[in-house]
């Protein structure tokens, strides 16, 4: 069996296991992303087959939402808030230092796929500005030193258990 076929089996299983009463293209895409962390070409195709639409329609939905990703995520997610409050409290410097530390020039994965960096317009804790989150755990009143330490601390060898994005927060 090709790896593609094994992947398809896993996707099909995920699609069948959706617990919601209404199964849509969107719910199917979310289910697959929750399982695999991102959407592969096979996933797009299987969702199309499962929902009786075409790959283009599925792609149309998938590419619309910034939440969906099409490349494997890093093992850990670091989000840096650059909303107004954080900005005023020095998020730019923070971001600059984090980017430097990770060797990135913007959002994306580090070369070793260890960390995914995301920018966020508000993590909802403005009183704690500037804020970052590491694997969805909020950390407030950051400075560069503490932030870099936290990010280094996230380099845990065990791969993070993936959960439904709605349960995180």
């Amino acid at each position: 069996m090709t790896t593609g076929e094994a992947l398809r089996k896993r996707v099909r299983q995920t699609l069948r296991d959706q617990p919601y009463p209404t199964v849509t293209v969107l719910s199917s895409l979310l289910a697959v992303q929750d399982d695999m962390g991102y959407l592969t070409e096979e996933a797009i195709q299987e969702v199309a087959r499962f929902t009786g639409t075409t790959i283009n329609e599925v792609w149309s939905v998938a590419s619309f939402y910034l939440n969906f990703r099409f490349t494997p995520p890093g093992d850990h997610t670091v989000e840096v808030c650059w909303g107004p409050a954080c900005h005023l409290r020095g998020a730019q410097t923070l971001l600059h230092d984090i980017l430097g530390q990770l060797g990135l020039s913007g959002e994306g994965e580090t070369g070793d796929s260890h960390i995914s960096l995301k920018l966020n317009t508000c993590l909802g804790a403005c009183t704690q500005a500037p804020v970052i989150s590491v694997d969805h755990g909020l950390m407030g009143r950051m400075d560069s030193e503490r932030a870099l330490k936290a990010i280094q601390g996230a380099s845990h060898p065990r791969r993070r258990e993936r959960r439904h994005s709605r349960e995180v927060r």
């Binding site: 593609g4 070409e41 075409t54 790959i55 283009n56 792609w59 149309s60 590419s63 619309f64």
Partner: protein
Amino acid sequence: MAPEVTIYIDGKEVKTTSDKMVLQAANDAGIYVPYLCYHPGMKPYGACRMCVVEVEGAPGTPASCTLPVRDGMRVSTGSQAVEGVRRTVTDLLLSEHPQGCLTCHRVDLCGPQDICLRHVAVNDRCIMCPKNERCELKDTTRYVQMEQHSPLTYQYRNLQIETRDPFYDRDYNLCIVCGRCVRACDELRGDVAIAFTERAGQALVGTSRGTSLLESGCEFCGACIDVCPVGALVERDYKWEKPVRHQRTICPHCPVGCQINYEVDRRERVIRAIPDLNAPVNLGQACYKGKFGFNFVNHKQRLAHPLVRRNGELQEATWDEALTMAAQGLAGHRGPSFAALLSPRATNEEAYLLQKFARTVMESNNVHVASSSPSSALLEGLGDVLGYQAGTNPIWDLEQAGCVLSISNNVTEEQNVVAVPVKRAVRKGTKLIVVDAREVELTRYAHLWLRPYPGTDLALVGGMLRAILDEGLADEAFLKDHAEGLEALRRSLAEFGLERVAAETGVPADQVREAARIFATSRPSAILCALDNVPAEQQRPCARALAELAAVTGNVGKPGAGIYPLVRGANEQGARDMGCDPHFLPGYQPVTDEAARRLAEGTWGRALPQEPGLPLDQLLEAARQGQVRVMLLVGDVAAHYDGAQEPLEAALQGLDFLVVQDAFLSPAARHAHVVFPAETFAEKEGTYTNVERRVQPLRRVFKAPHVPEVQPDWWTLCQIARHMGAPGFDFSSAAEVLGEAARVNPLYAGISYRRLVESAVPTCRPSTETPLPTQVEYSEAVYHGLMWPCPEASHQGTQRLHAEGAAAGQGPEPTLQNLAMGRIQEGAGGARVQGQPCLVPLDWAATPRSHDPQRPLLLAMGRVLQQPQRETEVVRGKGLNRIQREELLEMHPEDAAAASLREGQSVRVIASGHTMPATVRLAPGLPRGVVAMTRLFGGLAVQLAASEAADPMARVPRLDVVPAQVEPAGPPA
């Protein structure tokens, strides 16, 4: 009908109906409101904001395409505020679209902007756009008088132009994201081969992950190109050519009879095909054949002069020499040793003349329309039961069907536009039952897909009939009127026990029963049938059974019901109507009937042969045996007889004398003694009769300048007859021929060429000065044609056979407007069956299993638009993209076990002289003895687009079921 309301647009009183949007009401009243995303036939969308208006007493400037009319509404389309908004909208649109053609300072100096090379940036130049000077965006921008200098800067998107898919190019640098193409593909065609991608400022049109159209599910119908207002989507052939005029005629590729506007350039070449928006047959749709398959009319290899055989070689000759030689050669062989074959692309007039020539001059009833579809058995079978050898209902009736039974046909590829209303109906909840061993495109939409052993359709339909009668699902009114015939039918159905049917067809009895129940209870139910792969001796009974299925369930004579016999040739129906059949004179009058002969003899002034001619296969055999010595072939006969190409050529080889009229030196013509160069459909006048019985006029689009001597086939036929001294062939136009045919053929009695052309209803539209989508611009009038029977000149034709009142006549014709609104028309649903169908008992017939010991299995080759569940790789090399993937061979588990094959094993499939590698997949749903493979339509599209043949669309490979052998793939040699 929605209630009438009155609104005032720019002070003008406009009467409209409450279901309209303001833009539609304005358009209907001839008031122009600029628009870019709106297109007639699609749902209102409101994306471009170009059609903004002001409404008295309401705030802001709403988009008129999504603004419903309200009684007493006062709308202003040209106030200062409105114009201001429109200019801003234009500015915004042009900030993302090259605009050199509008803003270049030399714009008024250059004249036709096709020479500019240096005044603006490279990407902005007029000549870089294939739609230069025929761009709707540009026309609209000029109309709203945009400022010469936009405050916004334009930046080229720098996207790769997609040029490696078949037939058309996509340049999304020019896209304004109006969404017309996406909506056409989705709403109009039901394919969704393209969609919006990304969002906000990044939003564009594309395919999943930017993949090729080959695997995205594109059927290459070209609907997206036809609606594109800019140069983003263009046909690759003659991409840069500009038309000087256009002419509507009928597409020659299949019996749907789409009306298409062909554009002609200044060098007298047909350069583009744009389906007519208001044609009642196709409502603006076409298919890969119609849209991209017309180039043969311009082909260099077209025959320019008559050829005669001198010293064993075909040499050029004058018309007079050739005609004299043909007349002499034919004169010596009157009687049954003469046979005439007609291309299904010939017009009704040519069909009429050919049979008249064969019967009166050559004294032979051996006259046929050549086709590889079982049209005569199919139509005769329907005639046996329903009284008319034709389909019963108009194509767009299908959108109103409650259930469609699609049996043994490949409608999406062969009669493409018929599949469009079916797919659209399914979206609205119509049940679709597909009966086919092959995986054809409609199976994707099917609620129930039965896969019987190929050719066992008769048993299956008999089983459905039996189940319907047994369960009391038949139409009560019908049963009461036909008690007698019904009893005999019921008795004959005793043979069709469901268990026996299940054993014969391989379809479980409960599935047959379910199909019967859905069909009988979801009225109105319609039937699409082509009898593909049904054995010859069962074709006629099978057609009868299908007609009885329709009749018994009361599905005759109503909108949304009826039966659609899907023959293949463009005018097979018309040719048979006109008597191109060994058994029938024009109007299906039997040649054996003395009264019928008398009638024709009265007009033709000659005694007619009484003995019917031979069926086509026997005729070709007789030619091989030397009983038929002389033949006359009119049109590209060989191209349409591809299923039996070899017997045809073998038959032609031994003839004493062969005359061929063709546009090309076809393989058949190479055996000829005299060859006459013929005009193509695009040069002819005449009529075609489509699958709905609709007689439509062909108009001359152009006269190919490189073959000035060619003549229409009707003219050549007349000349041959006159050279043989025969009276009755002094016609000066095709219209005159039709005039005589109408006197002989009672079905066509009220039809005349003049009536067909002059009955066109002009469409109301704003002045010709305003910018309009090309399709709208070209659809100046609606040509309804006339549907036979049309017994007299005041008769409006018969839309539905066996119906009374509005349902029969020119009642509610489908129009774009009410299709777009998703409104189902109210037809006269309760009309009683008038023509008294006659039930014929069915005889059980077992379909022979393949007994070829070498090829014990039947290979059912399928083809679909998309198969997302399969791994597909698109190879992007030089030339066109190609599909590469592992082919799966579906096999019944028991067949696999018998051959010691297992799931996933690599095998070789040997069939029709080819060996194909494949991987076994066990499929318990298949009947035993059948293996199935399914390929993507994209592969076929590449093959057609890359073909070197002059007219590849006439020879699209069909999905035949063939004996096959499966063996394990050995180690690689």
